[in-house]
């Protein structure tokens, strides 16, 4: 169970994020600002899902969030900054999910299985965030490169532990990076196909794929079956 971070919109889909009622009210300014920011981040994901990042405009985002352009610019300088904030919030939440799931499991293969299951399950239940995270981030440019590498590196590190755990220190450099790239591609293809809500179906393949270089095919399949059957 994740406890240390919140995804944009506190895990809610944008349409469930309620506007605070207009007019005079006694809510502290920081609560109003927080609510607006959360709505903008969730709206960013919704607009990216509909239009793609390249076609998204500030007007699309403010309309989806139900805030004015002036409010948008009180929070962000431009579209890219808003996207980066949404990505960072989501990335932080996924990092917590991965860490919590891995920490609760036992041996290395079980930690990999629990971590992948937690991340994939979350993305499957939040298709717009899945698209933002795995597809649209590639469209943002240089500012995203180091962020995407850092995101991948967490899974790379988890897989790299398999060298010691499975006695496979001989594996060539770069294997873990390729495995993570492959898993992200597999998930991305399902999102492009418009079936993000079925990402969970890919867990057996993702898990077997991730474990085979370390455990060999028989054991990798046995672990994958145990965790996904």
């Amino acid at each position: 169970m994740a406890t240390g971070s919140k995804a944009p919109g506190s895990g809610a889909e944008p349409e469930r994020l309620r506007r605070l009622h207009g007019g005079r009210h006694s809510l502290p300014a920081e609560i109003v600002a927080h609510n607006q920011r959360e709505r903008l981040l969730a709206a960013m994901a919704a607009v990216c899902a509909e239009q793609g990042y390249n076609q998204a405009t500030i007007s699309h985002i403010t309309e989806a969030a139900g805030v004015s352009r002036r409010t948008f610019y009180e929070h962000f300088e431009n579209k890219e900054e808003c996207f980066l904030a949404a990505y960072d919030a989501l990335d932080s939440h996924l990092a917590t999910l991965l860490s919590d799931a891995g920490g609760a499991a036992g041996d290395w293969p079980d930690r990999v299985a629990a971590g992948l299951a937690a991340v994939i399950s979350y993305l499957a239940s939040h298709p717009r965030f899945a698209r933002l995270y795995l597809l649209e981030a590639a469209a943002v440019g240089e500012a995203m490169v180091s962020r995407r590498e850092a995101s991948a590196e967490r899974l790379v590190e988890l897989l790299r532990e398999g060298r010691a755990a499975a006695g496979r220190r001989d594996l060539n450099e770069g294997v873990e990076e390729a495995l993570v790239g492959g898993i992200f591609t597999l998930l991305g293809r399902r999102i492009v196909a418009g079936r993000a809500e079925t990402l969970g179906e890919l867990l057996p393949a993702a898990l077997e794929f991730a474990l085979v270089p370390f455990l060999g095919i028989d054991e990798a399949r046995a672990v994958a079956r145990r965790h996904t059957a």
Partner: protein, 199 residues
């Protein structure tokens, strides 16, 4: 040289200029005005051939993709044994990119930034070859086609990272490693290490 980027025609000149600009600086900040200036054409002349920069990008990407598939399939079919065919196909892909560094950047690095669908399409040819790998089906579990797609995605993302960080020189140097990645899950460690030693 790609036929679509033959500067003998106005359309080819536009594509060749686009390829050069993308190869040097990527396409994140590229504007139509940059292309018009570099190619020495007007907006009217550009729009006689393409609806948008994306449209021009698509035309170039599509030709690289077709040429890549053609060369990879020819190399694969030239060998009887799966490993040799795969090795040949990857070598053919690397050879194409080394001969045309801007095409490598456009196809491997920039395409997913312009339209996510392209990157997922680009790995189809490799995934088809990986799906023909000798494999054990006595313990069927995950869909073999999904495993092939994941592996192709891993190889392509590795290639994209190499080109982004080190150019086609880095890609050429890593041919053995790319083959290693493909062979490891199907043929095991010893066979994979043979591929490393070949390079």
């Amino acid at each position: 040289m790609l036929a679509v980027a033959d500067p003998g025609s106005e359309r080819g000149l536009i594509c060749a200029t686009m390829l050069g600009l993308v190869g040097r600086r990527g396409c994140a900040e590229l504007a139509l005005a940059d292309l018009e200036r570099a190619a020495g054409i007007t907006a009217h002349e550009f729009h006689a051939h393409f609806a948008s920069l994306e449209d021009c990008f698509e035309a170039i990407w599509t030709e690289i993709d077709a040429e890549l598939r053609r060369r990879m399939h020819a190399a694969y079919q030239a060998e009887e044994e799966w490993r040799a065919g795969l090795r040949g196909a990857l070598a053919a892909a690397v050879e194409l990119f080394v001969a045309d560094p801007p095409a490598a950047r456009l196809y491997l690095v920039e395409a997913s930034a312009v339209q996510p669908l392209r990157r997922t399409r680009s790995l189809e040819a490799l995934a088809e070859m990986l799906d023909r790998a000798p494999r054990r089906d006595d313990l069927p579990f995950a869909d073999p086609r999904l495993l092939a797609e994941a592996l192709a995605g891993g190889v392509w993302s590795t290639a994209a990272g190499l080109v982004r960080d080190g150019g086609v020189v880095a890609l050429e140097a890593a041919l053995g490693e790319l083959t290693y990645l493909c062979v490891l899950p199907f043929c095991g460690r010893e066979a994979a290490e043979e591929e490393l030693r070949r390079s």
